[in-house]
Amino acid sequence: MKGIIELQMWQVAVAYIFIVILLFIVRTRGIPREKEILVASLRMTLQLVLTGYILAYIFNNSHPLYTLLAISVMEAFAIYNTYKRVKTPLSPRLREIIAVSMVTGTLASLFYFLLVVVRISPWYDPRYVIPIAGMLIGNSMTGISLGVSRLVDGMRTQQHLVEAALMLGATPGAASKQIVNASFDAAILPTINSMVGMGIVFLPGMMTGQILSGVSPLTAIEYQIAIMLGILGSVALTVVMSVQLGYKTFFNEECQLDLQ
């Protein structure tokens, strides 16, 4: 089994030719996107270099605190990003619920995955914990953003049906059941769809990376299948928590609809 070819600095530099080609295309066509392309390339480069050094440091100085710190930063970023992605204003209570669902849902599935499925030792081994946490948290973030957007949107556009159900003596849960279910469904659908195309339409990043570094494709798919199931679990868990707790924020203690 061969290891991966180490890229020299000049080899990476040569790859920037693709940016040059893109810049050439937009300039000759007069598409005003040069600035964004340059900023994006620069950000990508700096962020990845920084992450590379940080990860290298953490891997060489493996310590539970470093691993936990890395997870905290990812969770915080994911929560912040969810707030930004949901375009409608969120009540403080709903923000709280998003944060709690994100943290508990991803951590529960992360540690199940690491300790029961992969059985890593020590439990904080950053080489496993950090990339897998990244995948679970990233996918859950997309899920919660979708789910909460649909929930807030549904409550507003279908306000008359929710109120009509309340008038007939429905509990808040029964009155918003359709909206909660539709939100959950919309949030997990992308994950299910990506499972359908997997291996045929595209090779997932983790699997590609393992194959490039010399791992047998058979081992790589084992990991890929396991991680896909982990992602599905994490997305389902975080989304069901956020919508199931989230709908309650639209009602007051008198079971009245309260859209602020």
């Binding site: 008359h160 049906l161 009509a164 159900a165 007939l168 003596g169 429905a170 029964a174 009245q256 609809l257």
Partner: protein, 209 residues
């Protein structure tokens, strides 16, 4: 049945005193924007009053669980709510929401006849006309057999003849079973022919008549 004393809701309603008699038909009339719908919503506890007191059968609304109250005092909003599904689903959904036992086909057809809705039970409810939706929504609350019917303009989308027949059979049904009806209406005709008591509301206040 209902007794309101010094009830205020924001700057929309200010009711000094109002009694709604049990087993009778009370019509609420007044210009649009005068607070008629707000009054019904208060009685259904869909909103809570800021001051004063509303008493239902001797108990303050504040002491009655909202969901429990709404199952006994059912409200039909002005725009008839239609839920995704068939006519049958829409008739039964009131029973589902209020966790009451469902009824058989026979009972459904009986209710449909009472509100003069000549449609198949398996038709898509979304496809009905405005007037048909209104009668469907009325049939739904009749099926729930509550103590009080709070009806907001139940005949606004019906022509005069249908209005006469549908409201007539509703009032007859309620009378036979000793139900209380509180109905907001624009129709002078309906108020005149069917009500036992007429309450006029103007700028959020009850006008003595």
């Amino acid at each position: 049945m209902f007794c309101l004393r010094g009830v205020r809701y924001r700057d929309i309603l200010d009711i000094e005193r109002l009694e709604i008699p049990e087993g009778k038909v009370t019509c609420i009339v007044g210009e649009s924007g005068s607070g008629k719908t707000t009054l019904l919503r208060l009685l259904n506890k869909l909103i809570s009053y800021d001051n004063g007191e509303i008493v239902y059968k001797g108990r303050s609304l504040k002491d009655i669980d909202s969901v429990e109250l709404r199952r006994r005092v059912v409200m039909l909003p002005q725009t008839p709510p239609i839920f995704p599904g068939t006519v049958r689903d829409n008739l039964l959904i009131g029973l589902v929401f209020s966790e009451k036992p469902l009824v058989g086909e026979e009972k459904l057809l009986e209710i449909m006849e009472m509100v003069h809705l000549d449609k198949g039970l398996d038709e898509d409810a979304e496809k009905l006309s405005g007037g048909e939706k209104q009668r469907l929504a009325l049939g739904r609350v009749l099926l729930m057999d509550p103590e009080v019917f709070l009806l907001d303009e139940p005949s606004s989308a019906l022509d005069e003849d249908t209005e006469e027949v549908v409201i007539g059979s509703l009032v007859k049904y309620a009378g036979e079973r000793g139900k209380t009806v509180v109905m907001v209406t624009h129709s002078k005709q309906v108020a005149r022919s069917f009500s036992d008591k007429i309450v006029e509301i103007n700028h959020g206040r009850v006008v003595s008549r």
